[in-house]
């Protein structure tokens, strides 16, 4: 079985099958690039991911492992994208996988899934963040995401008004 070494930003190396790694759009491209530039077709590719630390990379690979037999989702759904109607096949395994994570880890995971082009993981993590927004008040959202209001004066009220369909004359 052809293997690939994937190395995290803090130097941890993960040895995974190329078949598995290729489920990540980014890793697939990297492996193919390596193949083209290498004379030895038997050589084991080594890919450094400088933006993702070991803990997060492990999670991504773990998720890929679990979902290795899923159909690959198209990364670009631009043509027929639908707001809020993405069909999410979130399994029990996914729920258990995400359950212990705090929001910080989830955010890192989103960045990683985006960087490595793993659509399915990106979707479930984004969905999780979305669930932290749904039904919350503005202040609760700010607290959850540690954001501060930077509106000046009545800009906030203005945002509300401008978004009404019909403005009074």
């Amino acid at each position: 079985m052809a293997l690939v070494r994937v190395i995290s930003s803090d130097g941890a190396a993960f040895l995974v099958s190329q078949r598995l790694a290729k489920r990540s759009g980014k890793l697939k491209t990297e492996i193919e690039t390596f193949r083209k530039s290498s004379d030895n077709s038997e050589a084991q590719p080594e890919i450094r991911i400088v933006t993702i630390r070991a803990e997060i990379l492990r999670l991504v690979l773990q998720w890929l492992q679990q979902h290795q037999n899923d159909p690959v989702l198209p990364a670009n759904q631009n043509e027929q994208d639908g707001r809020g109607d993405a069909e999410m096949g979130q399994s029990q395994w996914d729920r258990d996988f995400l359950a212990p994570m705090d929001l910080g880890i989830v955010m890192e995971l989103i960045l990683a899934a985006n960087h490595l082009e793993v659509k399915g993981l990106l979707d479930i993590t984004c969905k999780l963040v979305e669930s932290k927004i749904t039904g919350r008040t503005v202040d609760e959202i700010r607290t959850a995401f540690k954001l501060k209001s930077d509106f000046k004066g009545n800009e906030e009220e203005q945002t509300r008004l401008e978004n009404r369909w019909c403005v009074e004359n």
Partner: protein
């Protein structure tokens, strides 16, 4: 969590996250969190906000809806060409991305001259980028049948369209209808909101509703017939079983004949209903009386959550209507009625039928409170007797008036509020 993570998340990723939010309220809340979120959300499809209010003048409302909606506004040949050039100038990597502000396209050709010769360019624009349009505001020019005929072609290229607002001013519309037939209208998976502004457009409404009726959640139109005329209603009601929001402006205010309505079966489970009626001669006089409207509302009173009525409480001769048959509104949370109701004897009777209402809004239809501050003392005095009559669920009573913003030279709605919790303290 690590504070940097939120900031580190690219706008595209936030966009992705926000795109999962199905609820308008949440999107509006997110807009208020901070400037960067507001900026990101500007690029997203606009939330579909159903406002239950009518503006002071109906024609101005239509025009302002077009001018003030946040989106890409094209009003002339120059606008269109400039836009096409800008779009072409984008670096190749961005060629395919959304060129429209707020995913909204406003085609507002008011002069017939503007249309001629533009047809091909317009269709080519729509063919290339139509899939990014989520909301279309479209002006139909009565002397340019082409502007009507091209609707199917335009819609065909907007596979992600959610909401369509058409403004067709009062005209000799037969000129258009006799000349054209809509070929088959395309299927639009996400479409759910239709608003038709302008007089005498029931024919247009029917054409569109025949195709999109079952998927419509919001419908708004102007009507010249009293809502009691069964024929038009039967058509609309029969083919729109999933309507949640219905807003009707009746500009001839001839009055509902209450009897006719009894025969209409309403499969509707309306959540929001807004109705305004007035005669063209006198915009302040509301043509329909309260009883008649209540007869209509009784058909969907059990599901209604928000109701807005611009109707009169006093007849022409100054005699207050006697009330009969006010249905129960068990789920009604918000009621808006003209300010003249505040001193009428109808109000206590009406309030008695509202089990769980939380907000009562008096519409300042006579401009008693426009452009001025209304102090706590004044409000207390106005609402003095009222608090003892209202259901205990009532949280807030307010007056909705308007305030001129001198810089923008535009009126904005203002609410003079009096809340229960403050009052008790």
């Amino acid at each position: 969590m690590n504070e940097d993570n939120c900031a580190a998340l690219l706008p595209e990723l936030w966009e992705h996250i926000f795109s999962f939010l199905p609820n308008e309220e949440d999107l509006i809340n997110c807009r208020k969190v901070c400037l960067s979120w507001a900026g990101i959300l500007e690029k997203l499809p606009p939330p579909q906000i159903w406002t239950p209010f009518f503006s002071k003048q109906h024609t101005a409302e239509a025009m302002l809806t077009f001018r003030n909606t946040c989106g890409t506004l094209l009003e002339s040949k120059e606008d269109l060409f400039t836009f096409l050039i800008e779009v072409e100038k984008r670096p190749p990597a961005h060629r395919k991305s959304n060129p429209f502000i707020n995913s909204t396209l406003i085609l507002n050709w008011r002069s017939a001259r503007g249309y001629h010769g533009l047809h091909r360019e317009l269709l080519s624009l729509v063919r290339q980028h139509g899939n990014h349009v989520h909301k279309l505001l479209y002006f139909i020019h009565e002397f340019v049948p082409q502007s009507m005929e091209s609707i199917p072609e335009i819609l065909k290229n907007m596979c992600n369209l959610r909401s369509l607002i058409i403004f067709c001013p009062k005209s000799d519309y037969k000129l258009i209808t006799s000349r054209f037939r809509f070929p088959e209208l395309p299927k639009l998976k996400h479409f759910g909101e239709l608003e038709i502004l302008g007089m005498d457009n029931i024919f247009l409404l029917k054409l569109l509703v025949n195709q999109y009726g079952p998927q419509l959640r919001s419908l708004s139109y102007w009507d010249s017939e009293p809502i009691g005329i069964p024929n038009d209603w039967r058509v609309i009601v029969r083919v729109c079983p999933n309507l949640e929001n219905l807003k009707i402006l009746n500009y001839r205010g001839r009055g509902i004949s209450s009897g006719q309505f009894e025969n209409i079966q309403f499969p509707l489970a309306l959540k929001r209903f807004a109705y305004k009626s007035y005669s063209e001669e006198n915009q302040d006089s509301y043509g329909e009386d309260f009883n008649a409207v209540m007869n209509v509302a009784a058909k969907f009173s059990t599901t209604l959550e928000t109701m807005t009525l611009y109707v009169k409480v006093v007849s022409e001769d100054g005699i207050e209507f006697a009330l009969f048959n006010i249905p129960e509104f068990p789920r009604l949370k918000e009621l808006s009625i003209p300010f003249s109701f505040v001193r009428s004897s109808i109000l206590p009777q009406l309030l008695g039928r509202l089990g769980n209402v939380g907000k009562l809004i008096f519409l300042d239809t006579e401009d008693n409170f426009q452009n001025r501050l209304v102090g706590k003392e004044e409000l207390d005095q106005i609402f003095q007797g009222l608090w003892t009559q209202i259901p205990s669920s009532m949280e807030e009573i307010s007056i909705r008036s308007r305030q001129l913003n001198k810089e923008l030279r535009r009126h904005f709605p203002v609410y003079h509020k009096c809340s229960n919790s403050i009052r008790v303290q």
